[in-house]
């Protein structure tokens, strides 16, 4: 403003006045750069160390100790201020985002350990470097943890004083009107015939009716509104802490296991029954697993048979009956997106496939094996591979031996040059079992745990046909085939479906959800509400008329704040009717 140039002296005083008017409108820390104080000049003599907090060091051990203590507390306070400053919070947020990136590009061992192994096999050196940097376990790595722990320390260090400050503000009063209201971000004025007391009284009523907190002052009224913004902001940051704690708790107490169940078979919720299982360090496997079990009565899968979606699934459904310790049995259905909840455990449906029912008779005509054998799907048309291991077997001479079969189960069988035997549709339209057979030692006694879906052929000999080619056969349900040299028969009775389930317990989900929803509510308050102050002043001018001045100051520059001021001015009209002015005197400055 042009007039500003001539009254610099008054400006300085006004600036302080205006700063006071806006003080405490937010609890956000100011950006301060505190560096070791050289300003602490030596008062009592001694050596001064520039750039130190300790100030002057007096001679002698006591002097040194005192200096050291001041130095340490000084630096600690400085570090703490840095850590809890907005700038460091910003940098830590940035680092958190940056640090999360590698985990989305490099395979992670808790998501897919197999991919990690593959990666390491393919990239020897890089694999070792990544391993060192914990890049296969980014989200539990030391450095990632360090970032978020620092962030949350910073958060707590920030939130506690702010909450304190905020409660202070809630108990205090809005600061009194600054001398020059016309320098506030939004301002209005008019003259009226009503006397000042009446105007101020009316203003206070109008403001109160609009949920402002008001404080009458000398010839003016101060008012403030929108504390919920600050409350929302604090709630949001607190909720972040709640969510982190809930997340951490769930890591300590979770349990999660997978189980493949063939139709007609059952499962009971004990550790040995699981195919795979993992749990948090504080989960007590012996006591914390819910006592229940279930039987898979039927698994239904339906697939689209026409149109562009040929072969895509439309229905997956596992009908189960579960029992609980009180002896009740309940029928339930597990579907994708619809887990069944029993106690603290949730049962999810994860996958499905086929299990051909196979009977093997040995060289002595005894039944050596009979039952469904789950084959694992390799593609969406359920081309499945699997093995049959027969241990309880006597050969044609009555000598104990072992048999192994390996091959394909294809629900809709097809064969071609490129792909070999495969399936063209996931429904069992032509469910062919294609196997090759081995005899010898399955290697089960070696003590090394074996994958039930793989055959270790090192000590096995493959059966061959008359031409010396590997003995290989296709079977349809109900068919059987004799093994060469009177070694027995294998029959393919039919097939069952199987489903894989995940049983998991999670502690802290409720807290995580509560925290998350509170965070959203807090955010909405923090970002959508405005905290603002309004001042009304009524003075008498030289002509004896009352000059009404209204001004408002918001935390952010929102268009709604001047609009609100205009509304307030309009609402004051009945009590402070305006005296029309002949000439425009808007620029009262």
């Amino acid at each position: 403003m042009a007039s500003d140039n001539v009254n610099d002296g008054r400006d300085a005083r006004d600036a302080g006045d205006e700063a006071a008017a806006g003080a405490g409108l937010s609890t956000a820390p100011a950006q301060e750069d505190e560096t070791p104080a050289a300003a602490d000049a030596p008062r009592e003599g001694g050596t001064v160390h520039p750039g130190s907090f300790g100030g002057a060091r007096r001679p002698g051990a006591a002097g040194a100790a005192g200096w050291l203590a001041r130095e340490v507390t000084g630096w600690t306070r400085w570090a703490w201020r840095q850590l809890t400053s907005m700038r460091v919070a910003l940098i830590l947020l940035f680092l958190l985002a940056l640090g999360a990136i590698p985990g989305s590009l490099i395979p992670q061992s808790d998501a897919n350990a197999l991919l990690v192994e593959e990666f390491k096999a393919d990239n020897d050196l890089l694999g070792r470097v990544y391993e060192r940097l914990q890049l296969f376990d980014v989200y539990s790595s030391v450095w990632f943890s360090a970032i978020y722990i620092l962030l949350f320390v910073s958060l707590i260090g920030c939130i506690v004083p702010r909450t304190w400050q905020f409660t202070g503000q809630l108990r205090g009063r809005p600061p009194r009107a600054p001398r020059r209201l016309d320098r506030m971000p939004a301002y209005t004025t008019w003259r009226t015939g009503a006397d000042p007391e009446q105007v101020l009284g009316a203003a206070q009523r109008v403001l109160k009716r609009r949920w402002f907190r008001t404080a009458p002052g000398e010839g003016s009224v101060a008012a403030e509104k929108g504390y919920l913004r600050e409350a929302g902001n604090l709630l949001f940051h607190l909720s972040l802490i709640v969510m982190l704690v809930a997340f951490g708790t769930s890591q300590l107490f979770y349990s999660e296991g997978g189980k493949l169940v063939v139709e007609g078979d059952g499962f009971s919720n004990t550790l040995p029954q699981y195919d795979d299982f993992s749990s948090g360090t504080l989960f007590d496997v012996d006591h914390d697993l819910d006592p229940f079990g279930f039987t898979l009565n039927e698994f239904t899968a339906e697939f689209s048979r026409e149109g562009p979606d040929l072969g895509t699934p439309t229905v997956f459904r596992a009908d189960i009956t579960y029992w609980t310790p009180d002896g009740t049995e309940t029928d339930a259905t597990v579907q994708p997106n619809q887990p069944v909840v029993i106690g603290d455990s949730k049962i999810y449906l994860l996958g499905h496939g086929f299990a051909p029912v196979i009977t093997v008779t040995d060289g002595q005509g005894r039944t050596a094996y009979s039952g469904p054998v789950p084959f694992l799907p390799q593609d969406t048309a359920l081309t499945s591979t699997g093995v049959v291991k027969v241990t309880d077997y006597l050969d044609e001479n009555g000598e104990p031996e072992q048999l192994g079969f390996q091959g394909f189960f294809n629900p809709s069988y097809a064969i071609d040059e490129v792909r070999g035997p495969h399936s063209t549709f996931p429904d069992p339209d032509l469910p062919v079992l294609t196997l090759t057979a081995y005899h010898g030692d399955l290697g089960l006694d070696s003590g090394i745990p074996q994958n039930v879906y793989q055959l270790n052929t090192r000590k096995l000999e493959q059966f061959t046909d008359e031409d010396g080619e590997p003995f290989r056969f296709d079977l349809l349900p109900g068919e059987s085939i004799d093994l060469p040299d009177g070694k027995g028969t294998i029959s393919y009775e039919g097939y069952e479906r199987w489903a894989t389930f995940k049983v998991s317990t999670k502690t802290g989900n409720g807290w995580a959800l509560t925290g998350a929803l509170a965070a959203v509510a807090g955010l909405a308050g923090s970002l959508l509400l405005q905290r603002r102050r309004v001042w009304v002043r009524a003075t008498t001018d030289e002509a004896g008329r009352t000059v009404v001045e209204l001004a408002s100051l918001g935390r952010t520059e929102s268009a709604r704040i001047p609009e609100e001021l205009a509304d307030l001015a309009a609402a004051l009209q009945p009590d402070a009717p305006m005296i029309p002015e002949s000439s425009d005197q808007g620029a009262r400055a």
């Binding site: 700038r87 940035f94 985990g103 939004a186 008019w190 999810y348 999670k506 205009a566 005197q585 620029a587």
Partner: protein, 365 residues
């Protein structure tokens, strides 16, 4: 509904998309004409405002209204419908800079083309909307199951938001050209690369949370896009004003284009307000996703690439909002963070769907 009918409807939806694209193209050309004609008029209000020692302009007062003056430190005024209020803002000098007059810059022909462009955009939007609705009917589910559908819904929401802003009398007409251009790009990509016949919803996606989570994600993305366009333009306009303020002379083209945009302050505020409003919703979107993941996979958070990038996007926007609240970081630095946030959103959408092995790879490709 039988298959033949739903295929016919799906085809109809495709034709509508093609038609919408054709009309958007015409709107694009009309916008170009608007900018070209607008360049004939010489406007140089910015330099004047930045260099002149502007007087405080008295607020307009009617005889019987109360003058509420919204004052800028330099003296710009806003006349509100009700009493005028003077405001001023934290960044002193910039306050004086008036918003540009828009693409047509008062040129009569330019203005005509601007209105043609807007009418065409409305027409194209209606076709676009119809295409999405027909697709919904054809597939008998929410139209958000693959990237083709995401993309068509996304650009529809962008245009819808733009038109709503216009309807609410917000000063957003300057968004017309960049928005229509990118909507064309998005639809072109959808039709040429992402298209899939697939209509079925696999059981894994069949959940109310699909509707909530995906609809919100698309809506947030669309608004964040509008915000980021404003942020990018802010950066250009800010450099332009800086140059003028320091006595430089920007190039002719830069002057012609940037002079017609809103002031850097307005652009910055516009994108901040949108981002601030979207951020809580985006937060809820991620929560909805977590609830869904808990339902589908038995864990609400598993650091799957899609989840990771949603998180990164969220953190980037949180950093942006923090930056805005931190004195030394306002302005350009905050703007870079806002742009980074949207880039993260894009990486999550295109990158993770198409190139990364994720549980969430539902691109339909």
């Amino acid at each position: 509904m039988n298959l033949a009918m739903s295929e016919e409807l799906a085809d109809l939806s495709n034709y509508l998309i093609y038609s919408a694209m054709a009309v958007y193209t015409l709107a694009f050309l009309a916008h170009i004409a608007e900018w070209l004609f607008g360049s004939r008029s010489k406007v140089a209000r910015t330099a004047a405002a930045l260099t002149a020692d502007a007087e405080a302009v008295p607020a307009q007062r009617g005889a019987d209204t109360i003058g509420v003056t919204v004052r800028g430190k330099g003296g710009s005024t806003d006349v509100l419908e009700r009493p005028a209020v003077v405001t001023r803002s934290a960044s002193p000098r910039r306050d004086a800079v008036p918003d540009g007059p828009g693409a047509a810059a008062g040129d009569e022909k330019g203005d005509l083309y601007g209105r043609i462009a807007l009418s065409l955009t409305v027409l194209a939007f209606l076709m676009h909307l119809a295409a999405v609705v027909v697709r919904t009917v054809a597939v008998e589910r929410a139209p958000w199951a693959n990237m083709y559908e995401f993309s068509t819904s996304f650009s529809m929401t962008v245009v819808g938001a733009y038109l709503l802003f216009l309807l609410a009398k917000k000063n957003v007409a300057w968004l017309g050209l960049p928005l229509v251009a990118t909507v064309l790009l998005d639809l072109g990509l959808a039709v040429a690369v992402l298209y899939t016949d697939s209509t079925q919803l696999v059981p894994a996606l069949d959940s109310v949370w699909l509707i909530i989570h995906v609809a919100l994600a698309i809506g947030c993305g669309a608004l964040m896009y509008v915000a980021v366009v404003s942020t990018v333009l802010f950066l250009f306009r800010d450099s332009y004003e800086n140059k003028l303020a320091s006595g430089g002379t920007p190039g002719k083209l830069a002057t012609s284009v940037l002079e017609r945009l809103p002031s850097s302050l307005s652009l910055d505020k516009f994108s901040y307000r949108i981002t601030a409003a979207v951020f809580p919703v985006w937060t809820f979107t991620i929560i909805a996703g977590a609830i869904w993941a808990e339902n589908a996979w038995g864990r609400y958070w598993g650091w799957d690439p899609k989840e990771v990038w949603a998180f990164i996007t969220w953190v980037a926007y949180a950093a942006y909002l923090h930056a805005r609240a931190t004195a030394g970081w306002k302005g350009r630095r905050a703007a870079y963070l806002g742009i980074a946030g949207f880039v993260c959103y894009l990486i999550n959408y295109y990158g993770v769907n198409m190139f990364v092995n994720s549980l969430h790879s539902y691109s339909g490709l």
